[in-house]
Each structure stands twice: as structure tokens, then as C-alpha cells.
């Protein structure tokens, strides 16, 4: 016993570290791996559950929307803006060079049909819902949306132009299932 305690008994054969050191390290490492593995279920428990993930598509009938109008629908618990742009608004969005924008993006890649702009209506700063869906609401200096929380201005393509928000309003995955129906998600 005294030999093992010092780890250098006859026949232990190692010189750098003792057998005991090895055992401590190996069992410590196993323990750490085990603890990490046991922690994962507790961490992953917080992630969206299967039923929340399953609720992830929404059908919208856009026929009633007139030119210049917009509607808000809910997708995954968040507002989605569907705006039918006027020719002037499209023109305005395409007039600017993407390179001059804070988050450069061409209007053409943000739409499937230029008339229809579909966006997640959540400010990319800290998550408020920007104003501008109704004609009576403030639309900011670029005619798109204005976030009142900390003053972010979005243009008619939903791109950030001014204010603390770092990114453009995101475009959700969507497709036209008919001439006037959209499936989001």
C-alpha cells in the first residue's frame, strides 16, 4: 500500500507521473464527459419542442390587399408583413445602389414578385414591431417602416437605412401556392 501511495513501487515502471496521477486524470476526464452528457438533456429541454416546431407554416390569401396596402399575419408567433407595393415604392427601392446600404442587399433578391414584399415584422435591433403597416402610421424617412422603440428607419424593401438596427428586416421562407395565395414556412 505504501508503495502505491508513492506511486513508485517496484514494477510501477513509469518515471514522469505515477499510476495514481493517471487514474485521477482518467477518472476525472470520464467524470467531466459524463457530466457534460448528463447536462445536455437539461439544456436541450429549453429549445423549441416538437409541437412548436410543427406549427411552422401559415397560408395567406393575399387577394383582398389593394396596391399600397399591407396586412400582418402571424407565423411562429411573430408578425409577418405582406405589403403590395406601388410602382413608385418599387422604383424607390431599386433606385439606390445596394453598396451604399448598412446591410447591402438588392431589392430583387428580397422578393419573388416585385409587387409583393413579405417580411418578418420584427425589428432587428431588439425585437419591437415596427410601425408602417397602416397608411396612418409613421413610416420613417424612407417610406417603409419605422421602429419607435429606438428609432430605426426601414425603406420600401424593408432594408435598414438609419438607426441602431444592424440588419434588414428578414424575408421568411415562403412560396406562391397560387396567383394570390402564399404559404409561409
Amino acid at each position: 500500500m505504501a508503495d502505491t501511495a508513492h506511486g513508485r513501487g517496484p514494477g510501477s515502471g513509469d518515471h514522469g507521473g505515477s499510476r495514481r496521477d493517471f487514474l485521477v486524470l482518467a477518472s476525472g476526464a470520464m467524470g467531466a464527459v459524463g457530466a457534460a452528457a448528463a447536462a445536455w438533456p437539461f439544456i436541450h429541454y429549453w429549445n423549441p419542442s416538437a409541437d412548436v416546431l410543427a406549427l411552422s407554416s401559415t397560408e395567406v390569401d393575399v387577394a383582398p390587399i389593394q396596391e399600397g396596402q399591407a396586412i400582418t399575419v402571424t407565423w411562429r408567433g411573430r408578425p409577418v408583413f405582406v405589403r403590395r407595393r406601388t410602382a413608385a415604392e418599387i422604383e424607390q427601392a431599386r433606385a439606390i445602389k445596394p453598396a451604399d446600404l448598412p446591410d447591402p442587399q438588392d431589392d430583387a433578391v428580397r422578393v419573388k414578385k416585385p409587387e409583393w414584399l413579405v417580411l418578418i415584422g420584427v425589428c432587428t435591433h431588439l425585437g419591437c414591431v415596427p410601425l408602417g403597416q397602416k397608411a396612418t402610421e409613421a413610416r420613417g424617412e424612407y417610406g417603409g417602416w419605422f421602429c419607435p422603440c429606438h428609432g430605426s428607419h426601414y425603406d420600401t424593401s424593408g432594408r435598414i437605412r438609419k438607426g441602431p438596427a444592424p440588419k434588414n428586416l428578414p424575408v421568411p421562407p415562403y412560396e406562391f401556392t397560387g396567383d394570390t395565395t402564399i404559404r409561409i414556412g
Binding site: 423549441p48 411573430r78 408578425p79 431588439l126 419591437c128
Partner: protein
């Protein structure tokens, strides 16, 4: 209570096997405290009392509260209207949170004024800042529970702060929410954690007191007690002083609960949460406003978030930022003035945090934010080197009994 000599056989029997009565006698009765403690030393025990009130009223609220997006708002309204004395329990809990922060902020500024964070109380101070952080997390999650407009949008904005983290920001926020927005999963976990955290606070409070009782309280003069002539037993002298202070405090507390129960609240929180409409003007509870002002003062999202958390964490470094060996501001004529400038700065930040970030508010907010950091990172370290402190009295008893400046070779803070 005095256990070893107790007449009560049961007490003696227990104490022999587990000396809890001896312990309590030692820590709460004969525990020697400096004899010159002022009323500023009441706020620690007050904070403890409010913590107990919060836990009791909270557990009672939970008996009628429903943590579900479809019922939470109604269940709180039911508590207010239909449950017997529900209005009282809720108003105690609501205003108790404000009182808790009021008391703790005074307690904290007291510590700054009298240099209570210096050797040997650095760990005590750090544990205090940990308690403050836990309180903020608890209060933030509690405010979400009634599921009004401010609950919902406050939760949205604050959880979105984490989206500023590079690379992992969005997955972390989704993970916090348990969905793609603040929703039922979020409300449920916030309730669970809101129930848990106060008990963690109780645990840290015990550590805080353990560290305190190692060297005892600091005092308004800021020099160590030199012997029995400088201290008095905690009981009855400070138990009665704390009890009197508690009485005055409860009057103020009751004044709010009965006469202005919504003074600290936001009317928007009596509108049920609507995920599609953001209120025009989102503000957090008053006790978080200075930090909210710091967040908004900085135009860059990530830097703003770092500055906000940094402004609190920096307090933990105060014992090392302050290079002066004199504790009490009473003997630091220049520090004393900067201390009050700092207090005003924090109040200005609070005022800015309550206002929309436009025009002059932005400019003032930026100056006040800059000053907050300049005070802690530049003024405090430099003052310790440049300032000439006044002569310290030889002991706590000297200025009271003899002529204050009798012994010139005053005892500074003794470092080992």
C-alpha cells in the same frame, strides 16, 4: 436564547448535539458591533426583511396565479378583484420589489461612501453585487408574469439583448424563448425561475453575512475597532435600532401600498400582452432605468450590451480600483464630492432611461454614461493617489470622548 446557560433542558439537549443556539447567541446577541453605527447601517437588515416579505407574498400569489399565456393576465386580475385580500398580497409584492431595490441601492451607496468594500471586506462586497444581479434577474422575470403589454415587450427587448452575441446570438435567444418569440414556453420557464431565484438569493445572503461576521461591520469613521471599548453587543442595542428603522420603513412601504399602489407601475401593463403591437414607449421598471440608459447611449448593439452588463460587473472590481487606504469619505474631502457627483450621475441616467432616445436626451445620456465609467475607471484610481486625506482619529472612541485630533499618528486601514 443564551443556550449553554439556558434553564430549558430541551434547549440544552439540542444545543449539546447541534450547537445552533450557541451559534445564534454568538452571532445575533453578543456579536460585537462598532458603537458608532449610524442609521445608514439599517439598510442591510431592512433588505433582509423585504426579501422575506417578497418570498411570503410571492408564494401566496403563486397559489392563485396561472402561468399560461391564455390565463396569466386574467389570473392576476382575479387575484386583484375576487381573491380575498388578493389586491393586498399583490400590491405588497409589486411595491415590495421597488422597496427592495430602493433599500439595496441605499445600502450599496452607503458602502461606497464609507469605503466598506475595502480590505478585508472585498468578498463581502462582491457577494453583494452577486445578490444585486440575482435580484435584477428575479424582478425582470417577475414583471413578465402578469403578461401585460410591458411584460411582453420588456421580455422581448431584454431577451433580444442576447442576440447581440456574435455567431451564437440567434440560437441562444431561441433557446431562451423555447420558441420563435416570447411565448408560453417562455412564460412557464420564467415562472419556474422566478420561484427559484429568490431562494438562491437567500443562500447568497447567508454567504454575505458569513463574510460580514468574519470581521464585523465597518462604521462611519472607517477605522477598525481597537478593543471592547469601541464596540457594543448587537443585542439589545442594534436589534432595537433595526426594529425602529423597520417601523419607519414599513410606514413608507404601507404608504405606497395603500395610497399609491401603482406609483411605480406602468399603465400599459394593465393591457393584455399583444405580440403584434408594440407600445409606443417601452420602459423597464425604474430600478433598471440607469442601465437601460447606458444600453441606449451607445449606438452599436453589441457594445451597448457589453457596456450595460459591464457597468454592473465593474462594481465588483471597486475594491481594487480604489487605491486609497482610507475607508470613510468623512476623511476624504475630494472623494466625498466626487461621490455625490456619481450619485447625481446615476440619477441622471435613470431620468434619461425613462425618456425616449431623441434630441438632447441622447446627448445627456452619452455624457452621463461616459461619466459613469470615467468615475469608476479613472477618477477613483487617481484620487487614491492624488488626494490628501484628513487626519484619522486614533480610535472609534477618541472623537466621541476625547478631542478628535489628539493623536496625530492616526491608525489608517491596517493591511497585513
Amino acid at each position: 436564547m443564551s443556550a449553554p446557560q439556558s434553564q430549558n433542558a430541551l434547549i440544552r439537549w439540542i444545543d449539546h448535539r447541534m450547537p445552533i443556539f450557541t451559534f445564534m447567541h454568538h452571532e445575533l446577541h453578543e456579536y460585537p458591533a462598532p458603537k458608532n453605527l449610524s442609521y445608514w447601517w439599517n439598510f442591510g437588515s431592512l433588505a433582509g426583511i423585504v426579501l422575506v416579505i417578497m418570498i411570503v407574498t410571492g408564494i401566496w400569489l403563486a397559489m392563485h396565479y396561472t402561468p399560461h399565456v391564455d390565463y396569466a393576465f386574467q389570473s392576476v386580475e382575479r387575484i386583484m378583484r375576487d381573491v380575498n385580500y388578493g389586491w393586498l398580497i399583490r400590491y405588497l409584492h409589486m411595491n415590495g420589489a421597488s422597496m427592495f431595490f430602493l433599500v439595496v441601492y441605499i445600502h450599496l451607496f452607503r458602502g461606497m461612501y464609507y469605503g466598506s468594500y475595502k480590505y478585508p471586506r472585498e468578498l463581502l462586497w462582491i457577494l453583494g453585487v452577486v445578490i444585486l444581479l440575482l435580484m435584477m434577474a428575479t424582478a425582470f422575470m417577475g414583471y413578465v408574469l402578469p403578461w401585460g403589454q410591458m411584460s411582453f415587450w420588456g421580455a422581448t427587448v431584454i431577451t433580444n439583448l442576447f442576440s447581440a452575441i456574435p455567431l451564437f446570438g440567434d440560437p441562444i435567444v431561441t433557446w431562451l424563448w423555447g420558441g420563435f418569440s416570447v411565448d408560453n414556453a417562455t412564460l412557464n420557464r420564467f415562472f419556474s425561475l422566478h420561484y427559484l431565484l429568490p431562494f438562491l438569493i437567500v443562500g447568497v445572503v447567508f454567504l454575505h453575512l458569513w463574510a460580514l461576521h468574519r470581521f464585523g461591520s465597518n462604521n462611519p469613521i472607517g477605522i477598525d475597532t481597537k478593543g471592547p471599548q469601541d464596540s457594543i453587543p448587537f443585542h439589545p442595542y442594534y436589534t432595537i435600532k433595526d426594529a425602529f428603522g423597520t417601523g419607519v420603513f414599513l410606514l413608507v412601504f404601507a404608504g405606497f401600498v395603500f395610497f399609491a399602489p401603482n406609483f411605480f407601475g406602468e399603465p400599459d401593463n394593465y393591457i393584455p400582452a399583444n405580440p403584434l403591437v408594440t407600445p409606443a414607449h417601452i420602459v423597464p421598471e425604474w430600478y433598471l432605468l440607469p442601465f437601460y440608459a447606458i444600453l441606449r447611449a451607445i449606438p452599436d448593439k453589441l457594445t451597448g450590451v457589453i457596456a450595460m452588463f459591464g457597468s454592473i460587473l465593474l462594481l465588483m472590481a471597486l475594491p481594487w480600483l480604489d487605491t486609497s487606504r482610507v475607508r470613510s469619505a468623512t476623511y476624504r474631502p475630494i472623494y466625498k464630492q466626487f461621490f455625490w457627483v456619481f450619485v447625481v450621475d446615476c440619477l441622471v441616467l435613470g431620468y434619461i432611461g425613462a425618456n425616449p432616445p431623441e434630441g438632447w436626451f441622447i446627448v445627456i445620456g452619452r455624457i452621463a454614461t461616459a461619466y459613469y465609467f470615467i468615475h469608476l475607471l479613472i477618477i477613483i484610481p487617481l484620487l487614491g493617489k492624488l488626494e490628501r486625506p484628513l487626519e484619522l482619529p486614533a480610535s472609534i472612541s477618541t472623537p466621541v470622548i476625547g478631542s478628535g485630533a489628539a493623536q496625530p499618528q492616526a491608525a489608517r486601514m491596517e493591511k497585513p
